[in-house]
Amino acid sequence: MSTWLAALPWMVLAIAIPLLGALAAFVQPRRAQVIGLSFSFLTAGAAVGVVLDFITLGPQQHAVGGWGAPLGIDLVADGLSILMLGMSAVVGVAVSIYARAYFVPYPDKAPRFWPLWLFLWAALNALFQSADVFNLYVTLELMGLSAVALVALTGSGPALWGAMRYLLVSLLGSLAYLVGVALLYHAYGTVDLTLLAERADGGLQLAVPLGAMIAGLLLKTGLFPFHVWLPPAHGSARAPVSALLSGLVVKASFYLVLRLWFTFVPEGEGLPLLLGCLGAAAIFWGSIQALRQKRLKLLVAYSTVAQLGYLFIAFPLAGLEPQMAWSGSIYLALSHAFAKGAMFLAAGAIMTQGGHDEIDELDLVVDRMPLTLAAFALAGISLAGLPPSGGFVGKWLLLESAMAQGKGIWAAIIIVGGLLTATYVFRVLGFAFTRSEHHHERHEVPAAMEWTALLLALGAVLLGFVAPWALPLLDGVLP
């Protein structure tokens, strides 16, 4: 890499480029597709720049305005940040390529999709790099608002209803988080995470704000029983939007839960156990609901509810073997982003082709769309945690951590959840291999929509192979 390229402020560019792209796509609605796709590549390039900077130089910091904490705002890119940035870059590029083909028949939607998606991407990149609890609130707002608008883009009654519910939940979550921020500033006189970690002394002064913030974030993550808004929103959105919401947006609030947890390291057994139990409930409830769904996209959406539950199993397991449990949870989050993104993209392709997404009317879809079905199956493998996928690595780490501590009940939950996942994935595949009694009209599906889903699903599987290189990046982040 030439020196001037290496000297560019990639952390800033990863936020500024998508913002500029959003503005450009908004003022040039007729060229929104071209502008949007170009800026997607540039954004992903900037994210890769941050990752390379981290690998060559170690954790990066950028004091916005030159003031530094506590007066100014600091941006930080550590191992956890760059994993999330990289995840957003890969899923983002795949969804962008897919969306360019997907929105060709909807010339009135495309000029709206691109600015909103680029705003969302800017918010994600800003969120993953921020080290300031108030600035994180602002990024949460930008992320929530653009995500809601993306759901409403569908325009149908159920989508608007889902978007409204999503908006209210999102605002409530933000409000709870903001109350926590205000209390933290009241007690410690700063909103910088590093300084807060130094000054926080436990007790009620820390417990109440932290509880408010985490409760708000759980609402935004959609952890059982706060998940009720998730299936209508994710299930009724346009396919590329669903992929972004399930793949990336819920991960952002989960990332923030982890960030707060790693910063303040709450003491006590009760809260981790509660989070683990909610996670276990989410796995069962989400999987059972997924099995009962008639529509493919709702099945995939309920599967998100279930898979989000897994991420929280790490909390009760982190006592003795924190490294292993946290690595497992983070790796599951990454591979779920890839797999669920691929699954929603595949569902969108199937819906475009047949004009519907009734599961028992899939009608030999394997003959017509082998690539898409392969994508769905590969993504399913990663979700179910079969080797050698990324999902396998994540679940294996959790399992090993549970066994090492003799907490067999958690191991059992992980395994049973995997079986349930495999069941609903195979239910879809089964109908895809059988002929339906009804005849359905068929539409051409652009090739780009098929192979982006497939590549993303392959990525979810390949994540299993890169684990030995990816997991050490987390050294120094985990408590």
């Binding site: 402020p9 800033v12 500024a16 913002l19 500029l20 959003a22 503005l23 908004f26 003022v27 609605p29 007729r30 950028h62 004091a63 916005v64 305005g65 030159g66 003031w67 506590p70 007066l71 100014g72 705002i73 010339p107 009135d108 939607k109 000029p111 709206r112 600015p115 909103l116 705003f119 918010a123 800003a126 108030f134 600035n135 602002v138 990024t139 707002e141 930008l142 608002l145 653009s146 809601v148 608008a149 409403a152 883009l153 325009g155 109350v179 209390l183 500033y185 009241h186 007690a187 410690y188 006189g189 700063t190 000054r199 007790g203 009620l204 002064q205 417990a207 109440v208 509880g211 408010a212």
Partner: protein, 228 residues
């Protein structure tokens, strides 16, 4: 009231009681956290110390546009995204306004020209006393709303292009300034010494125009008709 007669969609008594208890618990928690322990000195000392270098003598403006200007930049993105979201819902509803009475027209001819004046005043005052882009933009937007609902407007038929350029101006100029100061080893938004005051005024002026258009655009409630 019995549960049978309550309107559909309204939560039942049990749910209400649970929600009320949760809210009470949350309020009690917040109150306890406020009372318990010490109150840390905030950042007002640090702000006062750095104020001479900030380019604004009003500490609030210095925080919003300089020390924590990055927050404000992202907030401008939030406002812009809100308009994009509203435009995505559909074209602006056609509302046939009632023919305005002569009283209204007479009042408008006084109030509407006053608004830009007050807007400029608030914008200018912002650097040294309470005021600033948001307040100024809101006053201007209110004048726009007055104009729209008075029935003498083709505001919805305003061509989309100037409106959308005006909407993005605030975030665009802010971002351009934030990035343009970087060459020469400065950080994002690190205004060069001596130029801070002028750059802040430039950013605030663009933001005022955008905020006014954004708020008025939210009132209109949809995209202009010639927008695809």
């Amino acid at each position: 009231m019995s549960s049978a007669s309550r309107p559909p969609g309204e939560p039942g008594l049990l749910l209400r009681a649970v929600l009320a208890l949760l809210l009470l618990a949350a309020a009690a928690g917040v109150a306890l956290a406020l009372v318990a322990g010490q109150v840390a000195p905030g950042l007002s000392g640090a702000v006062a110390a750095a104020l001479p270098d900030s380019g604004a003598s009003n500490p609030v403006t210095a925080v919003l546009l300089n020390f924590r200007g990055y927050d404000t930049l992202l907030e401008m993105a939030v406002l812009t995204a809100a308009v994009v979201g509203v435009w995505s819902l559909g074209p602006a509803p056609r509302i046939r306004e009632t023919e305005p009475s002569p009283v209204l027209l007479g009042m408008n001819s006084v109030l509407i020209p006053l608004a830009p004046l007050i807007c400029a005043y608030l914008l200018w005052a912002g650097s040294s006393r309470p005021g600033g882009a948001f307040q100024a933009g809101a006053v201007l937007a209110a004048a726009g709303v007055l104009f729209i609902i008075s029935g003498r407007r083709p505001a919805v038929h305003l061509p989309a292009a100037p409106m959308s350029w005006g909407i993005v101006a605030g975030l665009g100029v802010f971002l351009a300034v934030a990035l343009a100061v970087m060459p020469g080893g400065r950080e994002l938004l690190e205004y060069p010494r001596g130029l801070a005051g002028a750059l802040i005024l430039l950013v605030e002026t663009a933001a005022t125009v955008s905020i006014a258009l954004i708020l008025a655009g939210l009132f209109i409630g949809g995209r202009p008709e010639d927008e695809p």
